[in-house]
């Protein structure tokens, strides 16, 4: 168990391969641009990003399978950049389950300890403890090939847990090959294991649900750079970058070009000719803004959009173009009425609770309202103003949400 720190780490596969002088004429491509990151001891973290964003590269650098082009990797303050995976004492669970086919489950678990020359008594004890924790006990004498995919993945995790002094356990999209209904069980097991052993866990995935349910803190990456790190709540309510806004959430955040106008000594956001009110929190944040550009983007989560019947006076007209019924919720897609804007009509999505009779039908025009306090404003992709996070919920509520998550 350790605190993991990356200092000025970057990586280029071209440079690592020692590309020829000819190829080096153009600047080398960096899979990972220079970044600093710190993971506290005992935390559960997720690295979230689309394929090719550099998250697996980052994981390889942590595990010692890759040597960074620049920068240092520190475990508990000790520089381990030059150390091999074995010397770093990390464990890794790969995308598809890696087990030693010809060995039994017991031998698989004992393998990392035997390689380190520990006494057979100690090994037997550790194997038993870990097998109990992972509920692999009954399968100990089975051949590893006989396990199902999710059991194999548990076993691969076990090979990491079995080492008492393991600095961190790294997961590289470990649920990719697992059946959807087993995924949920495995994810719960990972959380249990984390509560029990308090290892530093780093979990790489491109699946936002996995990242947000697993981790205390999520690092969102895109094209080799970190866009935001924060709790799931922060990522949801205050995305630091429009990319985070659209990547997280289903559907992602609505983004609309807007201009700031001042009327009645207050700032309003003008979207497609309509002036929209902003919450106090947003206005307070805007007042502290350094930049002057009036051309911004307004971000609003579909969850924070409400629809009202078309004859109401308040709100902006929205022509409904599609409705997706997901059962538990309904996505209403529409075109915002008003002045024509460059690049076609402004599309807004609203996520409304399901079950009730539909508030709108395709072709109808309804009035749309944005929750003024949940509006985020972006300048060139970066967040410039948003309301602060609400105060943390009372403990009873937190427990309730935990319980809700525990049901499939």
């Amino acid at each position: 168990m350790a605190e993991l720190v990356l200092q000025g780490v970057s990586h280029s596969y071209e440079l690592a391969r020692g590309a020829s002088a000819v190829a080096r004429k153009k600047p080398p491509a960096f899979a990972l641009r220079e970044l600093d990151l710190r993971w506290r001891d005992g935390g559960a973290y997720a690295l979230l990003g689309p394929s090719g964003c550099g998250k697996s590269t980052l994981l390889g650098i942590l595990s010692g399978l890759l040597r960074p082009t620049s920068g240092q990797v520190l475990f508990d303050g000790k520089d381990v950049t030059e150390l091999s995976s074995r010397e770093r004492n990390v464990a890794q669970v790969f995308q598809f389950p890696v087990v030693y086919d010809t060995m039994t489950v017991r031998d698989n678990l004992a393998f990392p300890l035997r390689n380190r020359g520990l006494s057979s008594q100690h090994i037997a004890q550790r194997v038993r403890d870990v097998a109990d924790a992972l509920e692999l006990g009954p399968a100990l004498d089975k051949r590893a090939t006989r396990l199902t995919a999710d059991e194999k993945q548990i076993l691969a995790l076990g090979r990491g847990l079995v080492r008492e002094d393991v600095a961190a356990i790294l997961f590289d999209e470990p649920l990719t090959v697992i059946d959807p209904h087993r995924k949920w069980m495995l994810r719960r097991k990972l959380k249990e294991i984390h509560r029990q052993f308090r290892h530093t866990l780093i979990y790489v995935t491109h699946d936002q649900t996995e990242a947000l349910t697993f981790a205390d803190e999520v690092v969102v990456m895109s094209t080799g750079a970190v866009l935001q790190r924060g709790t799931p709540e922060e990522l949801f309510l205050r995305p630091a970058h429009t990319y985070v806004g659209t990547f997280i959430g289903s559907p992602g955040m609505n983004l609309l070009p807007c201009q700031l106008v001042t009327r009645d000594a207050q700032v309003w956001a003008k979207v497609g000719g309509h002036e929209l009110g902003l919450g106090d929190g947003v206005r307070a944040a805007l007042a502290q803004r350094a930049g002057e550009s009036p051309r911004l983007e307004l971000g609003i989560r579909p969850e924070h959009v409400t629809l009202e019947p078309g004859d109401g006076a308040a709100g902006v007209p929205l022509e409904v173009t599609a409705i997706e019924d997901h059962g538990r919720f309904r996505i209403v897609v529409g075109k915002l009425g008003g002045e024509a804007v460059e690049g076609g009509p402004l599309v807004v999505k609203a996520r409304l609770p399901g079950g009730e009779p539909a508030a709108a039908a395709v072709g109808q025009t309804v009035r749309v309202r944005f929750a003024a306090d949940r509006v985020c404003l972006y300048e060139q992709g970066h967040l410039v103003a948003a309301a602060p996070l609400p105060a943390p919920p009372p403990p009873s509520l937190a427990a309730a949400s935990d319980a809700a998550e525990a049901s499939p």
Binding site: S84, R86, F94, Q95, Y100, N115, R116, R143, R159
Partner: protein, 288 residues
């Protein structure tokens, strides 16, 4: 039953292949079966003899000797070529231009027609003008494959190793390349030694490839004909007369079509049987 339209059109698609197989395999095989139960005295004179030829062939001491020789040869080939091929494949480069270079060099013996392979070694082994033979003689080794049984045997064996080890190596190499890198990474993280990586990752993952290599090399070496025929002609004495050569002598040399046909069938059934047993046993082991 579920409603399923019966559709016999599929037979039309199978028919051409069935015809082809019939003419290329079944009809010739039935001819052999036909011969094996008759004594053919002349073009139109034949007598049904039942299993007489089978009995005769199975009791032939010359054939027993050829059979043992054949078994010894095939097992020597397996014993040498498999570990050697596996070893070569482990040492082959994994990236860069060296990969293509190695593959081409390794594939060369496989591209040479078999009788040319025989000719190459026939000349290579000659003590007067052959590089191998002359070199051995120059070193003071008493080597002559046309006179000495052991020398003839070794020459044929070394020739087969030269000719076919590359096949085993290429098979193993392709198997090694198919192992996902995550296995090696996991082994590195688990602190496995090079031997453990070989024993617990590479060897198990190569199992299927090795089974194919054993089957191919066993069948091929068990039917070896051209190369020893060109190099030694089966001699000196009968020391390098293997089964197929024995058969040819019987069928073409002495024109004993009946016994030759009977023996062909026994030969065929034996290879089939061995491969079946081997395959089954290996699969049983695989399932633990």
């Amino acid at each position: 039953m579920i409603d399923k339209t019966p559709n016999n059109k599929a037979w039309l698609f199978v028919l051409p292949m069935a015809m082809l197989v019939a003419f290329s395999a079944i009809v010739p095989l039935m001819t052999v079966v036909n011969y094996s139960v008759q004594d053919i005295l002349g073009p139109n004179v034949r007598v049904y003899v039942g299993f007489e030829w089978f009995r005769k062939v199975l009791r032939d001491p010359e054939l027993h000797a050829a059979f043992l020789r054949q078994l010894l040869f095939s097992f020597s080939v397996l014993l040498i070529e498999l570990p050697l091929g596996l070893g070569v494949s482990l040492l082959m480069p994994r990236r860069g231009w060296a990969v293509s270079a190695t593959l081409v060099v390794l594939a060369l013996p496989l591209l040479i027609p078999w009788n040319v392979v025989g000719t190459i070694w026939q000349i290579f082994g000659r003590t007067d003008i052959g590089m191998g033979g002359a070199a051995l003689t120059g070193l003071g080794v008493d080597y002559n494959y046309t006179l000495d049984r052991v020398d003839a045997w070794l020459t044929v064996l070394v020739m087969d190793v030269w000719h076919w080890t590359p096949l085993v190596a290429l098979l193993c190499y392709s198997g090694l390349r198919a192992i996902p890198p995550a296995y090696y990474q996991a082994a590195a993280i688990d602190g496995a030694s090079a031997w453990s990586v070989f024993r617990y990752i590479q060897l198990p993952k190569l199992k299927n490839v090795l089974v194919i290599a054993v089957l191919l090399r066993f069948m091929d070496s068990f039917m070896i004909y051209t190369e020893p025929f060109v190099v030694t002609g089966g001699g000196p004495g009968n020391s390098t007369t293997f089964l197929s050569q024995f058969l040819t002598r019987l069928a073409v040399g002495q024109f004993d079509l009946g016994p030759a046909a009977a023996f062909s069938l026994i030969y065929f059934v034996f290879i089939l049987f061995f491969c079946y047993v081997f395959y089954t046993v290996v699969n049983r082991i695989g399932q633990g």
